[in-house]
Amino acid sequence: TQLLEQSPQFLSIQEGENLTVYCNSSSVFSSLQWYRQEPGEGPVLLVTVVTGGEVKKLKRLTFQFGDARKDSSLHITAAQPGDTGLYLCAGGGNFDLYNFNKFYFGSGTKLNVKP
């Protein structure tokens, strides 16, 4: 079972539509990161959120960390074809038994924005 559950797994929308991707867990994380991965490339960091309730904006992308630091969402306004890719959330947690800040990844949301 995944420590972080992402939904939806797949999303295909028209250019100009809005969308929200969710990342949920029953565990508390000290930070949560969102990455975007394009075909044939490694993931690239979009944002890190560290405070419960924190909201960060990156142009048309809005990221929110849940108050209890167990979940996060990514909202894209007026999606464009250039937003197409695999979106991954990753939790870094001090709850880990080994005391290392290991990153646990969700299974990803594959977004396709059609022109």
Binding site: Q6, Q33, E41, G42, P43, V44, F100, N101, K102, F105
Partner: protein, 114 residues
């Protein structure tokens, strides 16, 4: 530009072969990671290293080993490749393990074991 370089983009190997996947970073990072990525499963941690000659098992270490003889290089070894090790392998590095640090990833190696 900071860089994590994986030696091969595509590899095809036969069952039972010994396979080496190499990763080099130029950021003087202490921490390096090997993940495998499979559809629907996200990234799963195989091994990580927090210093030269130090290594720790991740969540799925079976069938793999690693080597970190120099700070900049972290190698993943498949002692006897099997078909269930066909996957995309991603190397990553990070400086300090603080909550504001980010993982830098290589472009990945798509390994096919026949």
């Amino acid at each position: 530009d900071v860089k994590v370089t994986q030696s091969s983009r595509y590899l095809v190997k036969r069952t039972g072969e010994k396979v080496f996947l190499e990763c080099v970073q130029d950021m003087d990072h202490e921490n390096m990671f090997w993940y495998r990525q499979d559809p629907g499963l996200g990234l799963r941690l195989i091994y990580f290293s927090y210093d030269v000659k130090m290594k720790e098992k991740g969540d799925i270490p079976e069938g793999y080993s690693v080597s970190r003889e120099k700070k900049e290089r972290f190698s993943l070894i498949l002692e006897s490749a099997s078909t269930n090790q066909t996957s995309m392998y991603l190397c990553a590095s990070i400086g300090n393990l603080g909550s504001n640090e980010k993982l830098f990833f290589g472009s990945g190696t798509q390994l096919s074991v026949l």
